[in-house]
Symmetry: C2
Subunit: 197 residues, 2 copies
């Protein structure tokens, strides 16, 4: 006998899925990633553990999807382009620094980074689904600066983005210091100096 999904059961599945992803985000914020368990997610979402394992192979996979749902509004992202690259990048990095200092944001992003370091397959998914649209927007802004003569045409844009964003990310991940406006502004100024014509 073949089993066919009725519209009702599809709707129920979707509801369970949403409840699981929401429970995962809540519990990461409350407990941190290390103490998060599939059992706790199931209990909070009001489903059985088997329902979770039917859709996701591991805790890491659920966490990833729960964060992916949050980033879906980044698909159409654009960076500001006032014609002044330095000012625009400072604006973007200051806003990101503010976001990173929000405790509600901190726990899930730490959880995601922990997953990514340990899991190359998830990293590939992250790069394609979460990072690619944001990275494309950054590259568009830099190409616009190249067109305006603010960056040389042969600039290694990947290296520029590494030098701009990695110190920011590492400082936050390793808690080596606060992401102050001064820090962020200096980072933008020095990075542009490194690549100026």
């Amino acid at each position: 006998m073949t089993q066919r999904r009725t519209p009702d059961s599809a709707r129920r599945s979707l509801r369970s899925r949403d409840a699981i992803l929401a429970a995962t985000r809540e519990l990461i914020a409350e407990l941190g990633y290390a103490k998060l368990t599939i059992e706790a997610i199931a209990a909070r979402a009001g489903v059985g553990k088997q329902t979770i394992y039917r859709w996701w192979p591991s805790k890491g996979a659920v966490v990833f999807d729960s964060l992916l749902a949050l980033s879906e509004d980044e698909q159409g992202i654009e960076l500001p382009d006032t014609g002044d690259l330095e000012a625009d990048l400072k604006l973007v990095l200051r806003a990101t620094a503010e976001e990173f200092s929000d405790p509600a944001f901190e726990a899930p992003i730490r959880a995601l980074n922990i997953e990514l370091i340990g899991d190359p397959e998830l990293t590939a998914q992250y790069r394609e689904k979460m990072e690619a649209p944001v990275r494309a927007a950054k590259l568009r802004r830099l190409r616009s600066a190249q067109d305006a003569g603010q960056l040389p045409a042969d600039t290694d844009l990947d290296l520029l983005l590494d030098m701009l964003y990695s110190p920011f990310t590492q400082r936050w991940l390793t808690r080596s210091g606060p992401l102050t406006t001064d820090y962020v502004d200096s980072l933008v100024e020095r990075t542009l100096r490194a690549f100026r014509p």
Copy 2:
């Protein structure tokens, strides 16, 4: 009745401790950090779980000490100083890139980074015990370059080190690309350009 440790029991303790730390390093390399358990460490080291919990409160703490034992030869570290800062930094970063591409090195350093992201207290210990001597050596090399007029006296050396090392570390941690000689050399050249007088 007070219990006093005999020399024999102290020796036995030390032997158990070494066996536990060695087992931890072996198992991280074999299984990766996520699958490492206190049970597995105890079994490999030939001790009871309680022996481990007597000395360490968590898996992260054992992992940290097992890696700390490896880094003890870095206490007296000095960076090369031929008088040519660019050449010396390229040499150091190329050597570090080679070390990071060694599979035996990869698993424990990933494990350590995963621990640090999730654990502020361990991060403080890491900074004091493992990072501080290496960082001091880097700062000594940069100050020598300042004395030689290759870097301005008012250079923000912390920012310089962030811009030099964070892209390197992030690229490796997130597997966004290989740490080639070209990449490492460009990173040194651009960073020095950002801070040149």
